[in-house]
């Protein structure tokens, strides 16, 4: 009985975890252009102001995190 209860809790936690992570990927985001060359070209053509961010795609040499 205890085993089944533990299994249910584990499955529930896993489901919540996967659901929340999937939801993360589905959330809206800013449509980033990744290069200055393309951005300044688009801004000139569309006469839109530019929101500029730069960030290193690594922290202390470890990639996969801003």
């Amino acid at each position: 009985m205890r085993f089944i209860l533990s299994l249910c809790v584990l499955l529930g936690v896993t489901f919540v975890f996967l659901s929340s992570n999937s939801a993360f990927a589905e959330t809206d985001g800013i449509g980033w252009i990744p290069t200055w060359k393309q951005a300044i070209s688009e801004a000139s053509k569309a006469h839109k102001p530019i929101l500029l961010v730069a960030a290193a795609p690594q922290c202390a040499g470890v990639s996969g995190i801003w």
Binding site: L18, N21, S22, F24, A25, E26, T27, D28, G29, I30, G31, W32, I33, P34, T35, W36, K37, Q38, A39, I40, S41, E42, A43, S44, A46, H47, K48, P49, I50, L51, L52, V53, A54, A55, A56, P57, Q58, C59, A60, G61, V62, S63, G64, I65, W66
Partner: protein
């Protein structure tokens, strides 16, 4: 990335009236030159830079390390962005025409991992084919339902060594990046003859299939070190908070080295800037150096 600002729905909505560029610091020498002109031009380039520019690339809100250094909160940022958009008559109707493609597959996998977003790789045997395939994907990438939800790049079959299960023939590969952005796994493939509808459906399906592992900043860096992850940037890291920088300080914040939260927002709101009756950035009118750079890049 400062998610307290840039992931807020009101900021995302306001961003549709802007051309939004996010450059990868230390991954391009030429872009590093431009970034240095935007904030503290005489200091070493730090990990993160933030600025708002006019359509010609001139500062209209002074630069900083992050939005936190410029705006009180996300609502303040939204208000200022909406003011600026109104001034330029900008509306979301005009969307970019080109695919927002990261320069290389290697860098794109890392960026996708950082964003916790899936990646689409356009595979072509030559430049011309890649451009044709990218042009077909671009309207889907900028569509209202998908904008900002995936990362894109282009490459040839020989660029796919870090992608597991990748089909090297021409077409589109939908990829789940690994935790540290050093590899990825192909989830789906579409052939070079895929239609716009096929591309939209596969994009949505990939988003649904992708379940990224999320660690805290501290745990991610610790785990990366334990696993021997060592990212080599294109140019040397110069952030004084980074231990690899020649001018590194020993100040390690709660988020680790060089986190974009930066120092407390003692600067508060900018004294000048847009909406305050002056376009003056922190360093006055745009520098000759920046103007020269922008002209060279056109």
């Amino acid at each position: 990335m400062d998610e307290r600002f840039l992931s807020k729905p009101n900021v995302i909505k306001a961003s549709r009236d802007f051309v939004c560029v996010r450059m990868m610091t230390y991954e391009s020498a030429s872009e590093a030159q431009l970034l240095k002109t935007l904030w503290r031009p005489d200091a070493p380039l730090e990990n993160t830079v933030f600025a708002i520019l006019d359509p010609d690339g001139r500062s209209i809100v002074r630069g900083g390390r992050s939005p936190q250094m410029v705006f009180r909160d996300a609502d303040d940022m939204t208000t200022r962005m909406n003011e600026i958009a109104r001034y330029y008559g900008s509306n979301g109707a005009a969307v970019p025409k080109d695919l927002p493609a990261v320069d290389t597959v290697r860098l794109a996998v890392d960026v996708a991992a950082c964003d916790k977003r899936p990646l689409v790789i356009v595979v072509g045997q030559n430049d011309q084919e890649r451009k044709q395939l990218a042009a077909r994907l671009a309207p889907t990438a900028w569509s209202e339902q998908l904008v900002g939800k995936l990362v894109y790049t282009t490459g040839s079959g020989t660029d796919l060594s870090i992608i597991k299960n990748a089909n090297r023939s021409s077409g589109y590969i939908f990829v789940a990046p690994g935790l540290f952005g050093t590899d990825g796994t192909a989830l789906m493939h579409l052939s070079a003859s895929a239609s716009s509808n096929d591309l939209a459906a596969a994009s949505k399906q990939t988003i649904g299939m992708y379940h990224p592992q999320v660690l805290s900043h501290h745990d991610h860096v610790r785990s990366g070190r334990q696993n021997g992850v060592q990212w080599q940037s294109a140019i040397p890291v110069s952030d004084p908070h980074d231990p690899r920088s020649a001018g590194a300080s020993q100040n390690v914040g709660p988020h680790g080295f060089g986190h974009p939260s930066g120092p407390p927002s003692s600067a508060g709101r900018p004294g000048g800037g847009f909406g305050g009756g002056s376009y003056g950035a922190q360093y006055g009118s745009p520098s000759t150096r920046r103007q020269t750079y922008i002209q060279e890049y056109r």
